[in-house]
Assembly symmetry: C2
Homo-oligomer: 198 residues x 2
DNA sequence: CGCACATGTGTACGGTGTTCACATTATCCA
DNA sequence: TGGATAATGTGAACACCGTACACATGTGCG
């Protein structure tokens, strides 16, 4: 019943939640340990009981953001209707994933930026959904369904990822090309990717 | 003859040169106004006579880095031999540009990062070589030479840029896909781009 | 109960961007 | 030519940041 117990309970989780809030509203660059700890109601030094440095909390929110993106891709894939041939359906699922990738970046640019920020510190991999695996899985589906030739299967993942990742970066970044709206470009790139691997 | 004249002469240029050095060796995140001014032999406040804020010098080196990239692309394009049909040559020039884009990013990752860093401040456009225009120019060449159908000309630039830009980001970033070496991936993506627009 | 351990506090240090009054030099006009 | 005026650099100060370290406080286990 003490309004402020000395021990917080789950400071690590609370700090990460606060960090995600900051990223959502002001971007990863605005993330400050002092702000985070103040928002949680704790002293700056307290954070160091859970993260060795600011870079480690950045790396943690980057990983959470990548999981967020991967979940969006999976959700978009699983929502495509089951009608049509297995071949057409595998392509529709693949294209849904590509659209979701870019649309996530447009809808949440700061989160997307945080997801692929160059983090000076590396976290050990966890077993979470990753964009790369979602993409390769969809490509395997297409290969099995006969939508793309087996000979292209090897290079397809990097081609696909480069396309959607590049478009997402371009559309959310400072260097937007002149005179085009996003929707048409997403469709153009996703269709282009499929054409180049089929 | 005074060893240290009160006025520097061209502080703006000197600061930008120092900034580029820092970016080359330690990346854009390590750029500090105090370091820059110290390297040039001047007081921190002096920088504010030439740049309104640190963000503006970051924006300036970003623009210089983009010009650097564009120059590399042009150089690679202009070095492809003139033999063969105009059609084959236009494709070779296009592919040389794509390779140069990604190879520049690999050779100078910190400069590439700086080039497309999300700068909180926007500079008015100058008339310098830009990657986007180099790419579209090469695509126009291919269209005229009959290497790609005119119907694909409209979507080709965004497809091409997304592909090389995405691959460059992936290969220089933290999220490298497992078990592949860069060279093969560059060739795969550039070939894939050409297939998707031809 | 008592002791070890985990967790949060307080204070301090060096570094940062930025501001502002002031000193110095260059430029241009009467 | 000389003196006002604008351009440029200085110095000290402010608020903020990440981080370290000694210390206080609570938790859980023998």
């Amino acid at each position: 019943m003490a309004a402020k117990p000395y021990h917080h309970g789950d400071l690590e989780r609370a700090l990460l939640d606060a960090a995600i809030d900051v990223v959502r509203s002001d971007g990863i660059a605005a993330l400050s340990l002092r702000d985070l700890t103040k928002a949680v109601g704790v002293t700056p030094s307290a954070a160091y009981r859970h993260f060795p440095s600011r870079d480690h909390v950045i790396a943690a929110v980057a990983m959470l953001s990548r999981e967020d993106l991967a979940r969006h891709m999976l959700a978009a894939r699983d929502v495509v209707p089951a009608r049509g041939s297995a071949q057409r359906r595998s392509v529709a699922r693949f294209e849904a994933i590509g659209h979701a990738y870019v649309e996530f970046a447009i809808a949440h640019p700061t989160v997307f930026e945080a997801a692929f920020t160059a983090c000076p510190v590396q976290l050990e991999r966890t077993e979470d959904p990753r964009a790369w695996e979602v993409l390769t899985l969809a490509i395997d589906e297409m290969t099995l369904a006969g939508a793309i030739p087996a000979s292209r299967r090897k290079d397809a993942p990097i081609i696909a990822w480069a396309g959607v990742h590049g478009l997402a970066n371009i559309l959310t970044g400072a260097a937007v090309p002149p005179g085009m709206e996003a929707d048409g470009q997403i469709a153009a790139v996703v269709k282009g990717i499929y054409r180049s691997i089929s």
